[in-house]
């Protein structure tokens, strides 16, 4: 058991060293591996049985069947190989996810020939199967379960095919220069003093009413759709975002020091939860972490900024 693990680690490190990470990978001879499947081996056993039959009965037509089966076996190698060769895979941007969620790593596949039944997956993860038409790029998303916050670098992507006969499996391992940002796992809990002083945090929704409308600002990406001033957009005045006044001028601060009893990850999880919750309610809030601070604001861009800081806390920038 232990030995197997060592071998697997060794193979993995060898693969990692063999292929430097790239943005776009074109599958060529040096990357494609091909071996018979279990069914392919059963098929060659049947071919051998037919050979035995033809030898014993000295039957030339049975010989012909046997040799046809064997020749198809050989030809299938080429066909399966050709069904992987020349495929170009480009890594695309990945949407951030919370730890414990499935990140969808996005890729674009392209081939100058028709390709059938390409299956892509991360090890022990669900697969995606796709057909490629001639000169027609296709985008796919491969799921990967992210466990830890921070930058999740892509594992080796396995790309494989059985087409056309299932006698052989051609596969390749792809290592992309691509990473996904993983936010801390949001855990409900901990209390925010500012909310408590204002009353029940769950009634906070009432406080973001239209009465508190403050003014317009220019549209910037990441703003929630329901805050866009569609009326003014319809009048041809361009995209603007409605700004709301926070409740009673008293800003909410998500503070690292609010829960001294908790461990680092647990604190981050609480902060993440509150950031998510408050953003949903369009409440202004700020973040205080040791060494940095984000001033109170609201909107998706703000949320992303906050979550990113939480995700990368204590690690690389």
């Amino acid at each position: 058991m232990l030995k197997q693990g060592i071998v697997r680690e060794w193979i993995k490190s060898w693969l990692v060293n063999r292929y430097p990470p790239e943005q776009t990978i074109k599958l060529t001879q040096s990357r494609i591996y091909i071996l018979p499947t279990l069914a392919g081996m059963a098929y060659s056993v049947v071919a051998m049985l037919v050979l035995l039959l033809s030898i014993n009965y000295q039957n030339n037509l049975a010989y012909a069947v046997c040799f046809t089966l064997l020749s198809v076996f050989i030809t299938a190698i080429l066909h399966t190989y050709a069904n992987l060769s020349g495929v170009k895979i480009t890594a695309l941007l990945v949407e951030p996810v919370f730890a414990g969620d499935v990140a969808h790593f996005r890729y674009q596949l392209y081939s100058a020939r028709e390709i059938h039944q390409l299956t892509l997956c991360f090890k022990n993860h669900p697969t995606v199967t796709v057909d490629l038409q001639v000169n027609n790029p296709v985008k796919i998303e491969i799921p990967f379960l992210c466990g830890k916050r921070g930058w999740q670098h892509t594992e080796l992507v396995e790309i494989r095919t059985l087409y056309p006969l299932g006698l052989f499996r051609a596969w390749s391992w792809l290592r992309f220069e691509q990473r996904a940002l993983v936010y801390p796992k949001p855990i409900c809990g901990g209390e925010i003093e500012a909310l408590n002083s204002g009353g029940d945090p769950h009634s906070a929704q009432g406080r973001k009413g239209d009465d508190d409308f403050h003014g317009f600002t220019r549209y910037h990406s990441g703003v929630s759709k329901n805050r866009i001033a569609w009326k003014s957009f319809a009048k041809g005045q361009g995209l603007h975002v409605k700004e709301y006044q926070g409740q009673s001028g008293e800003d909410i601060w998500l503070d690292w020091n609010a829960w001294p009893a908790l461990e680092v990850e647990e604190r981050l999880s609480r902060l993440c939860y509150w950031s998510k919750t408050l953003s949903q309610r369009h409440v202004l809030y700020g973040l205080r972490l040791p060494g940095c601070e984000i001033l109170p604001a609201t909107g998706d861009a703000h949320k992303v900024k906050v979550l990113r800081l939480l995700a990368l806390h204590g690690g690389e920038a």
């Binding site: 059963a42 098929y43 049947v46 049985l49 037919v50 039959l53 033809s54 030898i55 014993n56 009965y57 000295q58 039957n59 030339n60 037509l61 049975a62 010989y63 012909a64 069947v65 046997c66 040799f67 046809t68 089966l69 064997l70 020749s71 198809v72 050989i74 030809t75 299938a76 080429l78 066909h79 050709a82 060769s85 969808h104 996005r106 100058a112 020939r113 059938h116 039944q117 997956c121 993860h125 669900p126 697969t127 995606v128 199967t129 057909d131 038409q133 001639v134 000169n135 027609n136 296709v138 985008k139 796919i140 998303e141 491969i142 799921p143 059985l162 087409y163 056309p164 006969l165 299932g166």
Partner: protein, 690 residues
């Protein structure tokens, strides 16, 4: 743009089109087995397959079979197979077992693994089928079966877009892919077929040959051969090294000699086998090759007079005939030599008494005749001449002579005076033995039909013949054919021509090719060509193992291991390189099927008016906009088509693909029915492009 998302690994289950393809494959594979498997199994298998097929095509009409129903069915079939396997040994049982297993497997056809089991069993059944039937037609059917098997296999691995594209498109693409793969495998297969060494069987097996028709029997009493005259089965085929047959009068094919006579029946004596013929080959000797059909007997056919040693596996017998080591259950192929006139080098006659034995009593009239001749002091030759003179003057050759009873030879010589070769040989041998001349009867064939296309002689069962050999001091055994004396045309003319009018000849097959051929020459030529093809098939394909060594040596010189490897790898490498080049070559001009529909439309319109064709560089949107202006009658259809194109091509809504193709077809159909005046000719078509 839509994006394909991950799905969890399902246990590769088979969808309806794939299952349908697998069932159809099984039906195709099982059809040739119908003649082998028992009737009950055929009926049950047919019912099961038909029911499954129906439940796949129309699931709403077919209720599911209850579990216990399946159980009873499976148990019943297994019991039946076990019982019939006890009754039928060997291959019939194997075939039954395979078919039953495959058909029962269809009841549990769910995952890809089940599909694989079916495919592999089908491959094996296809090979087993050739043990029962090796005709050209069977081979062609086998090839088709392989295409079907690989089509089903491709469909299994083609994925589940099948639902959106429709069964026919999927079948077509899988079928053509399978044909391409098989075609690309053919060169490799042929090379393997040519050079794979044919090993002798690893253990002995018995093929059941249902009633191999025997041409001759190992004994004769007049009457046997008349039945033979009715069979036009092939006895054997011969090709000659010079590609020229001997003249008809020299086509005596010896199968065996009868030297033991008990008064009624002639039978074979104990002739010794000889290792090598003492004679060496001489100028003018005939070298020939025989392909003998399976007869379930040991005797083979030697052109008179055999000389030298035949090829391996054939035994020479001291009476000049050939014999096989074991009964012929399969076609056999051998080389032999013959001399045109027998060379006698003075060896004495062994066992003279055996060739002179006749019962002490019986046939008084014949005895009296012979005594009369001997009193006159006639020599052996004179006695033979006298006898043949009688035959020539008073006797008739007929295939339906009267029955002979007590003193058969007396009756034949003095009262009925009619018969065929057996009767004449019988009477001649008997009479000469009475006269003290050692004789034996030779059974074999006389004649053969020369096929000018493939240059071989075809000898049929109805050409069976019997003649006499007599021992003359100083000359050895000489051939006496009494039939030649009474009916010389039997020797020089083809037998079928001679007796085509006789009602008993080929009486049981009035419509046989031979009865027809004299009226229709083209049919005769066609038949000869078919025979020629069949001969090549037997000789070069089915009988290839005997040819292999000589052929390969002729082409490539002496073979050794390295040479064999080179022979295998050089052509195989070339073929595979070609295939991979073909597979990987870039196809810069290939268009996706979506665009193909647009191209078809543009071509159709171009035939109507050249200006309506799509201009180089014009996008589909621009083109459809332009068409809408020119073809106001089709505005709505064009609009719909263009929207669908956008949805499928750019939004990649694959579910709309089928609708798009349908819309394209309808549009092309409507365009074809357009008349000139439907086109808005006022508009300058060219200008609207810009």
């Amino acid at each position: 743009m839509s994006v394909l998302k991950g799905v969890s690994q399902k246990s590769a289950s088979l969808d309806t089109p794939v299952k349908t393809a697998l069932i159809v494959m099984l039906l195709v594979i099982c059809v040739p087995q119908l003649v082998i498997i028992p009737l009950w199994l055929a009926i049950i298998a047919g019912c099961i397959l038909a029911w499954i097929l129906l439940s796949l095509i129309r699931p709403e009409r077919c209720p599911n079979m209850p579990r216990w129903g399946r159980g009873v069915l499976v148990a019943g079939v297994i019991l039946g197979v076990l019982m019939s396997a006890v009754a039928a040994q060997g291959l019939g049982g194997l075939s039954t077992l395979l078919v039953a297993a495959a058909v029962l497997k269809t009841l549990e056809l769910k995952t890809r693994r089940d599909g694989w089991v079916l495919v592999l069993v089908a491959c094996f059944i296809a090979a087993v089928g050739f043990l029962f039937n090796q005709s050209m037609l069977a081979a062609l059917y086998g090839l088709i079966s392989l295409v079907v098997i690989f089509t089903a296999l491709i469909m299994m691995h083609q994925g589940d877009q099948n639902g959106s594209l429709g069964f026919r498109i999927v079948i077509k693409s899988a079928g053509s892919k399978s044909a391409v793969i098989l075609l690309q495998s053919m060169p490799l297969m042929l090379i393997l077929f040519l050079i794979f060494p044919r090993i002798s069987p690893l253990w002995s097996v018995q093929l059941q040959h249902s009633a191999a028709k025997t041409g001759l029997s190992d004994s004769m009493s007049p009457g046997d051969i008349s039945q033979l005259a009715r069979s036009d089965d092939v006895a054997f085929r011969v090709s000659f090294s010079t590609d020229r047959p001997p003249p008809p009068a020299a086509r005596y094919w010896r199968a065996m000699t009868y030297s033991v006579f008990d008064g009624r029946r002639w039978s074979m004596g104990k002739d010794t086998l000889i290792r090598t013929a003492g004679n060496t080959l001489q100028q003018g000797d005939i070298e020939y090759q025989v392909i003998a059909e399976p007869s379930a007997h040991v005797w083979l056919f030697a052109l008179d007079y055999s000389v030298g040693a035949p090829s391996q596996g054939v035994l020479s017998v001291s009476d000049g005939s050939y014999r096989a080591g074991s009964p012929l259950l399969e076609r056999i192929n051998y080389h032999a030599y013959a001399e045109v006139t027998r060379r006698y080098n003075g060896e004495p006659l062994n066992e003279r008494s055996r060739y002179l034995f006749v019962p002490e009593t019986g046939n008084p009239k014949s005895r009296a005749l012979v005594n009369q001749w001997r009193k006159k002091g006639m020599t052996s030759e004179e006695i033979i001449d006298a006898l043949f003179m009688r035959f020539n003057q008073h006797f008739y050759y007929t295939l339906s002579p009267q029955r002979l009873t007590d003193d058969r030879i007396d009756q034949f010589l003095f009262s009925t005076q009619e018969g065929f070769c057996e009767h004449f040989a019988n009477a001649t041998a008997y009479t000469l033995r009475l006269a003290g001349i050692p004789t034996r009867i030779v059974a074999g064939y006389l004649g053969g039909e020369w096929n000018p296309y493939e240059k071989y002689l075809l000898v049929r069962q109805y050409e069976a013949h019997a003649w006499v050999e007599a021992w003359v001091e100083g000359k050895g055994w000489i051939r006496l054919d009494p039939t030649a004396a009474v009916a010389p045309e039997r020797v020089t003319q083809p037998f079928d021509l001679l007796f085509a009018d006789a009602p008993e000849f080929m009486a049981d097959s009035p419509l046989s090719a031979i009865n027809l051929q004299h009226n229709l020459t083209w049919l005769s030529a066609g038949r000869l060509r078919y025979e020629a093809l069949n001969y090549s098939w037997h000789r070069w394909v089915l009988g290839y193992h005997q040819e292999q060594n000589s052929l390969l040596e002729e082409w490539f010189g002496r073979l050794n291991f390295i040479k064999m490897l080179l022979l295998l790898f050089i052509p195989v490498g070339c073929v595979l390189a070609l295939v991979i080049w073909w597979l990987l070559r870039a196809r810069p001009h290939s268009v996706s099927p979506l665009d193909k529909a647009a191209v078809t439309m543009s071509d159709t319109l171009g035939r109507l008016a050249p200006a309506l064709q799509r201009v180089h560089g014009e996008t589909i949107s621009q083109y459809s906009r332009r068409l809408k202006e020119v073809l106001p009658g089709l505005r709505e259809e064009l609009e719909e088509w263009h929207t669908l194109y956008q949805r499928v091509r750019y939004a990649q809504i694959l579910s709309d693909e089928a609708v798009y193709y349908k819309s394209s077809r309808q549009l092309v159909y409507k365009i074809k029915r357009l008349e000139k005046h439907d086109i808005d000719t006022d508009m300058d078509v060219r200008r609207s492009v810009r």
